[in-house]
Symmetry: D2
Subunit: 136 residues, 4 copies
């Protein structure tokens, strides 16, 4: 399993009038955390796009257990539980507050897609090589 | 079953550099469509909050089948497949483009919560009475 | 002068924990209102992009006089006070609530830019012809 | 003068189909940078709200000179050029990319407001004492 962790300071813009973070805003956090996870592997998602691979999100599931609040420093964990097969990759996320309470869980499935043709593609070889280390 | 339909014009702000609507932005559309659905029942979610009931989102699932693009007029369908029991309510959403292609499906579970105490609550009686008509 | 008006229902996602619309969210409303204004002239901004002209925003000024609140139906007025010269176009916006109270004023300057070269461009001739009617 | 600096990694969610950061998203960056600036003074904006002072934004001006792009690590400078008098405070912001190119400038005026009454208020004494050090 590959695990990565990053922190995010909650912005005022991310709250709603319930006084907590709006549910739709967690997906930008997950995306940010995935980008940091890929960076830890020595690659960037931005590079992947330059190589012609885009990764559209095709399926998301999230559970909101406790609210995140303005100015909290939340930790977003990103987990890859299995080496991606074929065209899809599945990330798991967990969001914790400073008291280490689990706030939110997420599961995001993305597709490897050729930017030019719009057809499905596979994980870039450089990323696969990095990832294989975590699954042996 | 209760079904409601509303249209939304895609904003530039909602696109990302992939040239399509960012996945996290669909949740604001679903929320807007639920508010319109409740309005059709003769009530507003804003009124519910004034009555002391808030409805935090506790679980979301969405599948992204085809992208939505800038300036498209999408139709968001909102469905209530069963009368809510106890503290939760489950909405289903479908997003269609102008060619009537299904772009996205969503399932959103919300909680009825007492705004003052933060404890779980039940559906306001006025909303239940409106809804019961659709489930007989 | 060219004047156009459009309405927007305030989304929950657009509020913050102050219980009002977050100031940064008005710019997406202005952008939506500009797109509707251009549509009234018989063209769309989406078409302009397809013709190879993009319009990046280069300068904004907004004053927030009164807050907009969740579920309000606000009216966004878009005004073009003079025919654009050269590479820039300047729009003025006013946001009103249902009581016709002025909530916000905005002034947005955009650039006509060639999408391919990134160099400055001029207003498409088809848009200029439409606009000239309002300035004679 | 008081100057503070903070860095922000550009999120995919913040880009639009022009391939650059959407202009409306800079205001959340400015807000984040102001919160970090206040934290450097030994206070937090979150604390101020708990003390009953809210700070609605009443006037913004921003110029967009160069685009910010996905995954760039931008630096947001926050400057207070004079000690706030009475009810208002004026912050200046500058956004730089990793090549130290100036991308954006902003000027944001906020109001000190009593959260309970909605009337104008003044800067909390604890914040004034911290700030005075920079203006002697």
């Amino acid at each position: 399993m590959f695990i990565s962790s990053t922190t995010i300071r909650v912005r005022y813009a991310e709250t709603d009038q319930m006084g907590v973070v709006y549910h739709g805003n967690y997906f930008a956090w997950f995306e940010y955390a995935r980008a940091e996870a890929i960076r830890e592997m020595g690659l960037t998602y931005a590079d992947m796009e330059k190589m012609g691979i885009i990764m559209p999100v095709i399926d998301v599931h999230a559970r909101f257990l406790r609210p995140a609040r303005y100015d909290e420093l939340v930790t977003v964990k990103t987990m890859l539980k299995e080496l991606p097969l074929h065209h899809k990759i599945e990330f798991h996320h967990e969001v914790y507050n400073e008291k280490e309470q689990l706030l939110t869980t997420g599961r995001i499935i993305l597709y490897f897609m050729d930017k030019t043709t719009g057809h499905r593609s596979t994980m870039p070889e450089s990323l696969r090589q990095q990832l294989e280390k975590y699954f042996q």
